[in-house]
Amino acid sequence: MNQSGKHSLRVGRISHSPTLLCIVAITKFIEWERFSLAGKEPSAENNAVVPAPQFSARTSKLGDRIFRVLTLGAAFFVVALLVLLVYELIKGSDLTLAKFGVGFFSSKTWDPVTQIFGALPFIWGTLYTSVIALIIGVPISLGVAIFLSEIISRTSRIGELLSSIVGLLAAVPSVVFGLWGLFVLSPFVRDYFEVPLHVHLGAFPLFKGEPFGLDFLTAGIILAIMIIPTVSTISMEVLRAVPRSQREAMISLGGTRWETIRHSVLPYARSGLFGAIILGLGRAVGETMAVTMVIGNDPSLSTSLFHPGYTLASVIANEFTEATYPLYVSALVEIGLTLFILALIINIFARLLIWRITKSSRVRT
């Protein structure tokens, strides 16, 4: 790891001024927006969506105008930030983009010594650990969400307490999970799961290899534990958005509590729950520190659960200080770009799903 002053990074050719460009673009945009909206009266449809009071030209003074532009600048700043982010990532990875092209994503060699870089082992590691995390974490998260929002009374003190604890758990720092994973979970998983599985079922490709404890399985379990608070919190919100009439209809037919949940609540909330799971996947994909501490850090394409691996995020965290020549740095930045794109797709997908259910429920209730 790095220590102060020990960095020997030489990122080549940073001779652009993206900030200047952005500032110019923002000012132009603000001017344009101000003039284009100045003479426009808000339509009836817009008023229905946001019933904010509108002001006549008399009361809206210069101060209001300035205030409005200032706040608009702040709101639009987030867009500028994202553009800047994408620009920096593409700019930083230009060397590998030019040298390896699309082959970067399908090459399985990652060898800084011979200057050959391929992202496939890291993509594999990220997807493999995330899938393990989903397989373990999703049933548990859904169980928690169903129990806390459907089975015990929402207004009861214990239900409220447990719900807020779940929310609290989402804030536990990821290095803390990593430390726990390193000292407690990894030896536990090795001794009680991996060794017996290896001894009895070692013939299967899934359980091949000597178990060390620092491998895909441990990383997947840590990720599962970390996504549980996220997925269950969002799932609870989604379940709470299911209209009461859905449940009442089933109860009036004489359904038991479980039948009500199984046949009228869950199908209704399906897309929202799916969105919650995808958001959990997003968290698992982007998680860095905890995984870095328990995955063993070895770029491999192994299908065995007991083989050490590497993920997109952890290779950036680990090797960035060791990157001593521009091509190496550029390869790591392209890994970052890959991670960004992966997270982007996952997030957009999840937002669309959640947005769909919460929107429809708002109309009904």
Partner: protein
């Protein structure tokens, strides 16, 4: 639960469930409920274990020297204390909050009060959601490339704080907007009827009523950034000495100690890592509890009035 009686209802249930008698349905219900309860226990067990581990080992490694001395030896040795990291963490949080809160709240005001749900606000909201989902290590790289190298700030408090600020920005933006939207419309209408202009309505009324919600958002964003490591590794680096310099001098922080010292095989380093984790967990829990309790206390007057 009443028995199914009319043939019509029976047919409906048969369609859903197949022909099953009452007792087995009740049994399924009980099994499913118990399974959910069991799952709760499974889900909470790791967290209980984590708390137990850190309270046990963290409390054991509390000592005056560790809390008040600076770290000795960075990557190889791992000894001394963690006062530099604690001070550094608090310094970074304070600085980043100072940077992001005004911008985030202003942006939220635009989204809730001015935007009329136009396309700019839609784009901004969507982008905020995306930015919130960007892995923090990616933000760390951009901070490194732009602030540390291009601006030439070096590993510094300012570079780290701005990177954290970017991380917190979408959260503060969205929670501010939500808090403002929850302010009753009648308050705005009342002020409007008295002839006040928009700026003073926002400054004197809506922002004040929305304050508890905004504060909660800010506190939650801070608690997220306290636990971040990835964006800081390449922007703050680490330092054995506490600093108040904004530029050109690396800063220590708690999460780094957990990450690096847990991988050094000496008991002294592990003790420091445990102590740093305990402090982190305590800070995060304290912030979260404060925001919850504070929120409840602050929202009460509004509810009773409105």
């Amino acid at each position: 639960m009443a028995q199914v009686e009319t043939p019509q209802e029976k047919r409906k249930l048969v369609e859903i469930r197949g022909p099953r008698n009452f007792r087995s349905r009740v049994l399924t219900d009980k099994i499913a409920k118990t399974a959910c309860l069991g799952v709760i226990l499974v889900a909470f067990y790791p967290f209980a274990d984590i708390l137990y581990l850190f309270i046990l080992n963290g409390v054991r490694s509390i000592s005056w020297a560790r809390l008040t001395e600076n770290t000795v030896g960075g990557n190889s040795l791992g000894g001394g204390g963690l006062s530099n990291a604690l001070e550094g963490s608090l310094f970074l949080i304070g600085l980043s909050a100072l940077i992001v809160v005004p911008i985030g709240v202003f942006g939220g005001v635009y989204l809730a009060e001015f935007s009329n749900n136009n396309w700019i606000s839609k784009v901004s909201r969507f982008t905020a959601d995306i930015l919130a989902g960007v892995p923090s290590i990616v933000l760390g790289y951009v901070g490194f490339s732009l602030l540390v190298l291009y601006f030439g700030w070096g590993f510094s408090a300012m570079a780290a704080a701005i990177t954290l600020a970017v991380l917190m920005f979408p959260y503060i933006l969205r929670t501010t907007e939500l808090a403002l939207r929850r302010v009753p419309e009648s308050i705005r209408e009342g002020a409007l009827a008295l002839g006040s202009n928009k700026t003073s309505i926002i400054n004197r009324l809506t922002l004040r009523f929305a304050l508890p919600g905004i504060l909660t958002g800010v506190l939650l964003a801070i608690s997220i950034s306290v636990g971040e490591t990835a964006p800081l590794i390449y922007t703050a680096s680490f330092s054995n000495y506490a600093t108040t310099q904004l530029f050109h001098s690396p800063v220590g922080y708690l999460t780094y100690m957990v990450f690096v010292f847990s991988q050094i095989p000496t008991s002294e380093a592990h003790a420091l890592a445990y102590l740093a984790s305990l402090l982190l967990v305590l800070i995060v829990l304290a912030i979260n509890l404060a925001s919850r309790v504070g929120l409840r206390r602050l929202t009460k007057p509004l509810e009773s009035e409105g």
